[in-house]
């Protein structure tokens, strides 16, 4: 499972969404995620992948988050 698929799975579980409705180009606001939801997603992602992810307001889309996680994995 790649990073995007992991994020989509976690979002689908926590926000009761259909995993097929989640696309990389979607912004957090498209998905109706506020800062609280994003913080929750990141903590779950860290547990799942075993990496520390530092987030800030420059992250706007799922693709941004995927890129950040993959960079932090290196």
């Amino acid at each position: 499972m790649n990073t995007f698929e992991t994020i989509a799975k976690l979002l689908a579980e926590s926000k009761d969404m259909d995993v097929n409705d989640i696309r990389p180009d979607m912004s957090f606001s498209d998905l109706e995620l506020d800062s609280l939801d994003v913080a929750e997603l990141v903590m779950n992602l860290e547990d799942e992948l075993g990496v520390a992810v530092e987030i800030d307001e420059s992250l706007r889309t799922i693709a941004d988050l995927v890129a950040k996680v993959d960079a932090d994995k290196q």
Binding site: E32, D34, L36, I55, D56
Partner: protein, 315 residues
């Protein structure tokens, strides 16, 4: 006297912060609370850098005690306000309505203790990692921006999630609430609503009267649809807003426009029909306009008595 890391390390007499309330928490109120031995906090709200700089400088003329600044992260001026904080270096910066991590480095370099308000354990962990000195775990009983969890469930979970100090907020207006906070694992409390009725609070008198008249069921949460829920006292404004919030014909932009300027109308003009009177559920526990010093001393005299009496419950 209360024994707390906030007393030992922040130079307070009482482990209490006065919450940063938009259009309410100005230099006069912050200085009064700091002079009374708590931590007064100036709200940067959604105004610009010069307003904040002026308030910080005014506060320094009114007190030689430590005080803080609250940065509202949804403010359109948040970048410049964050810079003013780093330049002026108040003892403490608290943050609300978001994740402050991207602004924290310069504050920490300036020697400021950064204490974000958090509504969840995930947020508490993220700010701890970024160098927060403590967090304020604020339950949904509070006024203004609210999360879903209540204080009694949020505080112990945050205490378990992080290893930095936790300050409890939401629903605390007397010594009973303060005593509970310590039992939940907090090292202090933050109160907003009770200070709305401080003598030194410069908010319009209609606002104070609204708080004094509030009953237990008189607050309402609106704005969930736009992703920023706030608690305020019911009035014609909240009735209109709540009706539109559940009206599918009303667009998000129209709903947003309905709220513009409502806080100022309440706090500055005392407009009972069109103002949004932010207050927590503890409004009904506020019965008099008193000096900040009396509010704090009464609260901690009661808290100390209750905590000293706690062994009576154990056989």
């Amino acid at each position: 006297m209360m024994n707390s890391v906030l007393v030992q390390e922040l130079g307070l007499t009482y482990p209490i912060f006065q919450g940063g309330m938009a259009w309410v928490s100005d230099a006069a109120l912050a200085a009064a609370v700091s002079n009374a031995g708590g931590l007064g906090i100036i709200s940067a709200m959604n105004l610009d850098a010069e307003y904040l700089r002026g308030q910080i400088q005014k506060c320094r003329t009114l007190t030689d005690k430590p005080f803080g600044v609250n940065v509202m992260l949804m403010s359109p001026h948040v970048q410049e306000v964050a810079q003013v904080c780093a330049q002026e270096a108040p003892a403490v910066v608290t943050t609300g309505a978001g994740l402050p991590n991207q602004y924290m480095k310069p504050w920490l370099e300036a020697g400021i203790r950064v204490i974000p308000v958090v509504p969840s354990t995930a947020m508490a962990k993220l700010v701890e990692r970024a160098g927060a000195y403590a967090v304020i775990a604020e339950g949904g009983e509070s006024g203004g921006h609210v999360g879903d969890l209540s204080t009694i469930t949020l505080v112990p979970q945050v205490v378990d999630a992080v290893s930095i100090p936790v300050i409890a907020a939401g629903g605390i207006a007397d010594g009973r609430g303060a005593a509970v906070a310590f039992m939940l694992g907090a090292v202090g409390v933050q109160c907003g609503t009770v200070f709305l009725c401080a003598e030194e609070c410069t908010v319009h008198d209609n606002y104070k009267q609204k708080v004094l008249a509030a009953r237990d069921i008189d607050t309402i949460v609106t704005g969930k649809r736009l992703g920023h829920a706030v608690r305020s006292i019911r009035n014609p404004f909240t009735k209109r807003y709540a009706k539109q919030e559940y009206n599918p014909q009303c667009t998000d932009d129209e709903l947003e426009a309905l709220g513009v300027g409502a806080l100022r109308k309440a706090a500055v003009e005392g407009d009972l029909d069109n103002g949004c009177f932010l207050a927590g559920q503890a409004a009904a526990m506020v019965h008099a306009i008193r000096p900040a010093k009396e509010i704090i001393e009464t609260m901690f005299t009661q808290a100390e008595q209750l905590l000293k009496g706690a062994p009576a419950w154990v056989k």
